[in-house]
Amino acid sequence: MASKWDGFIKFVGMGEVSQISEFGKILIFIITGFVLVALTLFVGKLLAPKNPNPEKLTSYECGEEPTGSAWIPFNARFYVIALIFLLFDVEMVFIIPWATVFGNHELIATDARWGKLTFIEMFVFLGILILGLVYVWRKGDLNWIRPNAEVPHTNVAVPPALYIKLNNEQSTHRVKEFSPLTQKEAAAALTNAEPVTATTTAATMLPPVRKPMFKPTFK
């Protein structure tokens, strides 16, 4: 297994005779990182098909036509929430590698104290973060800052008692009771009031207007 890497180890200087300092190794890593990224981008540029059109070059708005500018003022109160979220996001990043090492049977088998130590260590870490959360909570940074709504007031000469009186009058409105007799009287009054003329008969004799009907046709 090791023989495969002998040449590489000698080349990098990880063998007995080190010709390159520890910082030099970091430099090699940095150079390799840059070269690899540049190479990947270059190969991508070489191989990727390019068919740009105006539709493709517009900004992606979930399929909608983009309108207005993307540079809009963003509410500052999101900032504190985002900062606190970041804290607990990073906490998760720390806990996941810890959890994988914590469950390592080999390490637990070598020393029984390992499990206890790591467990207590993680709870100390979590405790510090929870302390921070309690602090933030107590300070009221988790409260959503609401703008104070200004209710407009106007100075008018109408006294409020007038409005109250009007509302009382309106609230006591009652619907008339129904009786067939009054209905007939009303109908008779209506026919007497409007004598039948030639124009009205002509209007009523017209055939009813046909509404356009929907007829879907498919080829």
Binding site: L47, N51, K56, Y60, C62, G63, E65
Partner: protein, 161 residues
């Protein structure tokens, strides 16, 4: 190209650039996370743990810029067709389309009286694979992904006639 041979020690693998590119493209078919109607529920089901489309490198992307394939899962109305066309145009090449379910294949139950339904998404964008069913089972969608992979494996992206 046999992926098993890659794990053998001291092995040298020789391949054509076309085959390599096809292999890389078919192994990471990232669909746009885009569902229109009830077929999308089946699509979600096939991407979740029970059917696990991630086995085939299918991993939904939230942006059209990162997507390779768009799964038209549902009824394509005329209003939506415009958006679908724009989303398809905004995807980078090479792009593929899976038409999932009867509605997007041909209009489905809205074939005769659906005044608002496009009679098949292939009237708007070119479709690579059609999945039949109303809605299709997750197995059918997985089958469509495999069909698309087969189609991609025969493609000639460089040096095409």
């Amino acid at each position: 190209m046999n992926p098993e041979s890659m794990n053998e020690s001291d092995g040298v693998m020789v391949t054509k650039l076309n085959d390599l590119m096809n292999w890389s493209r078919m192994s990471s078919l990232w669909p746009l996370s885009f569902g229109i109607a009830c077929c999308a529920i089946e699509m979600m089901g096939s991407m979740a743990s029970t059917y696990d489309l991630d086995r085939f490198g299918v991993f939904p992307r939230p942006s059209a810029r990162q997507a390779d394939v768009i799964i038209i899962a549902g009824t394509v109305t005329f209003k939506m067709a415009e958006r679908i066309k724009r989303l398809y145009e905004q995807m980078p090449d090479p792009k593929y389309v899976i038409s999932m379910g009867s509605c997007s294949n041909c209009g489905g139950p809205y074939w005769q009286h659906g005044y608002h339904v496009v009679k098949g998404v292939d009237r708007v964008i070119p479709v690579d694979v059609y999945v039949q069913g109303c809605p299709p089972r997750p197995e059918a969608l997985i089958g469509a992904i495999l069909e698309l992979q087969k189609k991609i494996s025969d493609e000639k992206l460089i040096g095409a006639v």
